[in-house]
Subunit: 382 residues, 2 copies
């Protein structure tokens, strides 16, 4: 028998006020009645991804965070540096629901065939406002998971799997034949290792610790370069010569890594050059920055000729580029391989209230490689 | 009566030796007999462009330059830092002729109709090895200048005019509608002002001195921002709002200017935004670095969402992109407008020997905005 549907449910909301404070709180919001083409999903699992952090914390200085409220309804307040307030002008004084993706069970459906077909099914959703007990949305936004898939298994169907697939697709679209990936021991990085192995795409993994080298080799990674080793630069060039990679995806963003990769690519290309190319190799070398683990400025040495580019890469913009049909093809592959290629692992499952404890925030806010947290909005208080 | 053709002519050559020294010297080389489809050009004017510097000086440290040889045949020697030697491995111990472009008179022609048609004509050439008294090359590489054009007027037909046209063409190819240009008071920058005025392309000029603001306004520039003014950032945003420019060409390369431009573009775009875009504007903002007046690393703040790119831009790669027919169309326009839109101005005309005096090198090596030097290979010694 399906659980009874309450009149209201909890939802995690983030508000940045004009007085330069951030407030995170749990609001009790009405559980909506699904319209004709809509379904109501009881959300049972929603991951905390790095890409959720921007909306949750904004530009607040979380070292100033204070705990308020009650254990069941915690409230977190933090200061936003005045000079950064302008950058979030458009969201001031609005309570914004958070959580890009998640999974749950359809507990009520509108009258349309598409909605009715999902009743009782476990579905994955990329729709925002997923750090909530219930989410009502159009049926076509739901990805029905294969029979026997738990919500916790399907919670991360979109952000990481589609990003990994997006990297490989971007490689093909832009005429490259191999990839470089930084922060490669991350959940996403491990997924990319499996995907590239499955698809025969040569991949150069860059990590920062010896243990991460072992981890990735254990998953079948062939090229793993440890940026903490003194031999990093030459190791990287060797791997670039062997793979021919001229496209990199960089999760760190700041510092010199993107530039080091371009320098390595140019060195690898010049190995095969037969005569002096006065302006450097004519082969285009590209680094896409898709994260900002290092918030310092990106530093580009520009010692790699003229055929280079560095730019931002964002999943929604990539999905726009390939169009709805292209995106649907990728989503269907994710659903088929959610327990294998695209499986995610979590270090912790927490409740909505626990997500607003300062200790938790300090932990998931760190974005430590491999530490991934799942929110279960129906797990009791704390 | 045409001047007599000698058996040999002078040619400026640059050699980087394995012992980590650069040598610049004048070699006496045979004047070739043109083949069937070739012409022999008596070079009378060849500009020193920033893009020539790489081949002439390589990575040598010119503060170590020593003068040798004789006044008529000067030799300049300088040290190359050992760590940079690897970057020029492919050119070691080869005497390379220099000079990308120039103009002169066809004094001898092969038997083909195309070659014969050029006999006695003043032609412009982009072919390398132009810092020489004579240059033999295929007729199809010559751009015949309109009757009454002096070699000194046609010497800079390619690098600057095609770069200016390339910027406007790149803008159209990549879907932008206005341009930003830095170091905008340069010879190229002045040309771009005239070109954009002629073609109705909104242009934001960035300069560093008050005098340069006046200079460009005098040429009809509408938007000129002085980066030395305290109001620079807000002036820039205003100009970006008015023009809608989302593409910039940056001659400086190093430092924070490219990033400041992207920040300004994002601010300009967010002015018209109606709701909070959590990942920033979706409009792609691009800066192409086409020079390196500032050799320090490029520093990117990445506070402009995800739809941004920074990359190298190089004329030969652009010409490859648009293909031979596209390039020919641009070249013909340059020839037609060489005395108006694409006119260049020089501060000095020097001989080949004078080009190898330490004083001259210090002067043209500085690449001061607006100071452009023309080599006349037939001007007597010194």
């Amino acid at each position: 028998m399906p659980p009874e549907i309450p009149a209201t449910g909890l939802q995690l909301q983030s508000t940045i006020r004009s007085d330069a404070t951030l407030e995170l709180a749990l609001a009790e919001v009405p559980v909506p009645e699904p319209g004709e083409g809509e379904v109501l999903v009881r959300v049972e699992a929603a991951p905390i991804n790095p890409s959720d952090m921007g909306l949750v914390f904004g530009p607040a200085d979380m070292t100033t965070a204070r705990q308020g409220g009650t254990p069941e309804r915690p409230v977190v307040t933090a200061d936003v540096p005045e000079r950064l307030l302008e950058s979030v002008r458009a969201r001031l004084d609005q309570a914004l629901p958070c959580g890009n993706e998640g999974a749950g069970v359809v507990v009520k459906a509108g009258s349309s065939d598409a909605a009715q077909a999902l009743l009782g099914k476990t579905v994955a959703i990329l729709g925002g406002a997923m750090y909530a007990q219930y989410r009502c949305l159009p049926a076509f936004l739901c990805l029905a998971l294969p029979e026997g898939t738990l919500p916790s298994e399907g919670a991360s169907c979109f952000v990481n799997p589609l990003t990994a697939l997006g990297m490989v697709e971007t490689m093909k679209l832009e005429g490259h034949e191999a990839l470089v990936h930084t922060a490669a021991a991350s959940n996403l990085g491990q997924m990319l290792v499996k995907l590239c192995n499955a698809d025969g795409v040569p991949l150069v993994n860059i990590v920062r610790k010896a243990g991460q080298v072992e981890l990735l080799r254990g998953l079948g990674a062939k090229h793993v370069c440890n940026s903490s080793e003194p031999s990093f630069e030459t190791d990287l060039v060797e791997a670039l010569v062997e793979t021919g990679a001229t496209l990199a995806f960089d999760a760190t963003g700041g510092g010199k890594l993107a530039s080091q990769i371009l320098t390595g690519m140019e060195k690898a290309l010049s190995r095969s050059a037969t005569e002096y190319a006065r302006y450097g190799s004519e082969t285009h070398k590209q680094v896409y920055v898709y994260g900002s683990l290092d918030r310092t400025p990106t530093q580009l040495e520009r010692n790699y000729g003229a055929a280079w580019g560095v730019g931002g890469w964002l999943l929604p913009l990539f999905l726009k580029r390939i169009g709805p049909a292209g995106g649907q093809k990728l989503r269907e592959r994710v659903a088929r391989e959610i327990k294998t290629t695209f499986a995610s692992h979590y270090t912790k499952e927490i409740s909505l209230a626990e997500a607003l404890e300062l200790d938790s925030i300090a932990s998931y806010g760190r974005q430590a490689t491999g530490a991934k947290v799942l929110i279960n909005p129906h797990k009791p208080g704390r």
